[in-house]
């Protein structure tokens, strides 16, 4: 059982929805980023999604892309990202960390070397945007064999015929992308999301977490009502981009977490 599985079992026992926060590793710099990541569990974050900086984030909007550029300009790399995760892990052995990004930096390091380093750093799961099930042999199967969760994205274009394939090698949870589009763009609608979540829960038997287009405590609560949890990324990252202090960023995160945690 990974930290992710343990976390969702615990949330289920307490009847609570999950709040997942995304931040870009090394944004705006290594030290500030580590301070923010260390503060996330105290702000009510159940699962940390740690963004891996990449020059060409094709599924992301300008907010996340600029965060990646800031991190890269500050000398961030995949190795430094794992170092940041390891530094967090020294003081927190229960909050799951999911690394989210694109395949090329991992491919460049080498899949086996990466998986060993990620395990060492205390990473629990991977979300790699440009690895659909058609490319499972690249990283998904080796990651599962190494004991890491490979968390798949399901989207509004994933129809019933395709869904079994999408969830087949998925573990931990399924990330439902609530809109067709990029991060930080359109707003998610709880009415549209509810039947999709039910469909994916049934096909996967896993918790379904909804992301993309959630940017306020109200939205966080509304979507959490109809899912197993929510992810907020761009809204938090834009606070960091505006040079808000770690304290202000974490205070905002807390309002979002409270939204997700106060469902009926």
């Amino acid at each position: 059982m990974t930290r992710i599985d343990a976390k969702f079992a615990d949330l289920k026992a307490r009847g609570q929805k999950a709040f997942v926060a995304y931040v870009m590793a090394g944004d705006p710099d290594y030290d500030t980023s580590l301070e923010i990541v260390r503060g996330l569990p105290g702000a009510g974050v159940d699962v940390i999604e740690l963004g891996l900086p990449f020059t060409d984030p094709m599924a992301d909007g300008p907010t996340i892309q600029l965060a990646g550029q800031r991190a890269l300009e500050g000398g961030m790399t995949l190795a430094r990202t794992l170092q940041l995760a390891a530094a967090f892990r020294e003081g927190d052995d229960t909050t799951p960390i999911v690394l989210m990004g694109y395949y090329n930096p991992i491919y460049s390091m080498g899949v086996d070397a990466f998986l060993a380093a990620a395990k060492d750093a205390g990473i629990d799961g991977l979300i790699i945007v440009d690895l659909p099930p058609e490319e499972d042999s690249e990283l998904c199967l080796p990651a599962n064999a190494a004991g890491l969760n490979f968390i798949r994205l399901a989207t509004p274009t994933t129809d019933d015929a395709r869904l079994p394939r999408v969830v087949e090698n998925t573990s931990g949870f399924v990330y439902y992308v609530s809109i067709t589009g990029i991060t930080g763009a359109a707003e998610a609608d709880a009415g549209d999301v509810a039947p999709e979540v039910a469909r994916i829960q049934k096909a996967s038997g896993l918790p379904v977490i909804v992301g993309f287009g959630i940017n306020t405590p109200e939205k966080s609560r509304a979507i959490a009502e109809v899912a197993d949890g929510v992810v907020v990324g761009s809204a938090i990252v834009s606070k960091i981009g505006n040079c808000d202090s770690p304290g202000d960023v974490l205070a905002f995160v807390k309002t979002l977490a409270n939204g997700a945690h106060t469902t009926d």
Binding site: P53, F54, T55, D56, P57, M58, A59, G61, P62, Q65, Q69, L72, T77, L78, A79, Y102, Y103, N104, P105, I106, Y107, S108, M109, V129, D130, L131, P132, P133, E134, E135, R152, L153, A154, T155, P156, T157, T158, D159, R162, V166, V177, T180, G181, I182, A185, A186
Partner: protein
């Protein structure tokens, strides 16, 4: 052509969209169903006689195919060695090979009921071709172009606007061709239901590399027939410039199984391949990686971050290369070399003076390599280079590089 399919170089890609280890479908889940649908539709069209009949009709009457195969007599004399032929794809409607492929994709888009076409463009030639065909069929057209390229290719931007296209200057990242491709992919992922992404080169997720190659292969097929008519045999060497590599793949593909035909791809060496980030020679100066839906050779740093290329030619200014080229490079069926900006400029000027043809900067790279090897080859050696675009779009860039101000000529 060889009939032994088991030893053929022409059977790729496999069902995973791979050429050896290269290619594939590295896209987000939102796009995956669209790509599978496109593949199914293309497989259907490929064997549909009415699809190809429509293509050939438009190639003949709208594009002006077949393009001539031209014996460059004065250039041949000047170089004093091999016999140099030029495949004149710069005489196509819109002035480059790009329209060969665009017609195929737009006919497919119409069959799929898509009403909105998006494209990325570097030099603007693919954007102009897409805007042209969209105007002809009354389709909405949105072209993503790096802000830097919008600036250096202003005439093509105006052409696209005249043709009714919306040109979106891309400022994300560093505002170049790769960023334009990122933004086109972002558009596609947002407008999945009504939009068709018309990719301009033999790159991207499967089936694009194979599909674009098949549409461009008309170039090589014509050369086979024309050379046989002119010389009674096939050329000894075929040469083409490579950015993403669509004009080259179109020329090379029909010759892959003719082992006696040498194949040479010419990458953009910019200021020199030994200069970091000062060239676009992915095969000579890069290593395998994954970007824009496929595994191929990429310019990247030690961390797998993508580097910006540099070339005087906006059309070659891309940090990757089509996956089939990466495979042909690895198995050694084709040879890849690089040519610097300075060498390309020299070839550009020589072609103007010797043949009365103003070439685009892209084929000037291919021509520069012809200039290097032709003098060393015997007079009965036949070279065919692909004159894939005309140089009107480049005269401002060339003037600047040669130290002229356009105003001086007034």
């Amino acid at each position: 052509m060889a009939n032994d399919l088991f030893n053929s170089f022409m059977t790729g890609p496999d069902e995973q969209g791979r050429f050896g280890d290269f290619g594939g479908r590295f896209v987000s889940e939102t796009l995956m169903p669209l790509i599978l649908e496109l593949e199914a539709q293309y497989e259907k069209a490929k064997t549909d006689d009415s699809f190809w009949a429509e293509m050939h009709d438009l190639w003949t009457h709208y594009v002006g195919r077949p393009s001539p195969l031209y014996f460059a007599e004065r250039l041949t004399e000047h170089l004093g060695g091999a016999k140099v032929y030029m495949k004149r794809d710069e005489l196509n409607h819109t002035g480059a090979h790009k329209i060969n492929n665009v017609l195929g994709q737009i006919i497919l888009a119409r069959r799929m009921g898509k009403k909105r076409i998006i494209a990325e463009t570097g030099a603007g030639q693919h954007g102009v071709a897409t805007a042209t065909v969209c105007a002809k069929f009354g389709l909405k057209c949105v072209v993503y172009m790096g802000a830097h390229d919008v600036e250096r290719q202003a005439p093509n931007v105006f052409r696209m606007r005249l043709l009714g296209a919306e040109v979106v200057p891309v400022t994300s990242g560093r505002g170049t061709l790769k960023d334009a491709m990122n933004d086109a992919l972002r558009d596609w992922v947002t407008n999945v239901r009504d939009t068709f992404y018309c990719i301009g080169t033999v790159a991207g997720p499967h089936p694009y590399p194979a599909m674009v190659r098949d549409f461009q292969a008309i170039i090589g097929k014509e050369v086979r027939e024309q050379m046989t008519a002119a010389e009674g045999r096939l050329p000894d060497t075929v040469i083409a410039a490579i950015g993403g590599g669509s004009n080259a793949m179109g020329l090379f593909y029909p010759f892959l199984d003719d082992k006696e035909v040498g194949i040479i791809g010419v990458e953009a060496g910019g200021k020199g391949v030994n200069q970091k980030m000062e060239h676009c020679a992915s095969l000579t100066g890069g290593r395998p990686g994954v970007l824009h839906g496929n595994r191929t050779y990429l310019l990247q740093d030690d961390d797998g971050q993508i580097l910006e290329g540099f070339s005087i030619s906006a059309g070659l200014d891309y940090p990757g290369i089509g996956p089939e080229h990466a495979w042909l490079h690895e198995i050694g069926r084709a040879k890849y070399v690089s040519i610097t900006d300075v060498e390309a400029l020299e070839a550009f000027q020589l072609c103007c003076l010797q043949e009365g043809i103003i070439p685009a900067l892209e084929p000037s790279h291919a021509l520069a390599h012809v200039m290097k090897i032709a003098p060393e080859l015997p007079a009965d050696h036949i070279i065919c280079m692909n004159m894939c675009g005309r140089g009107d779009k480049d005269i401002f860039t060339v003037a600047r590089a040669l130290g002229f101000e356009m105003g001086e000529f007034a």
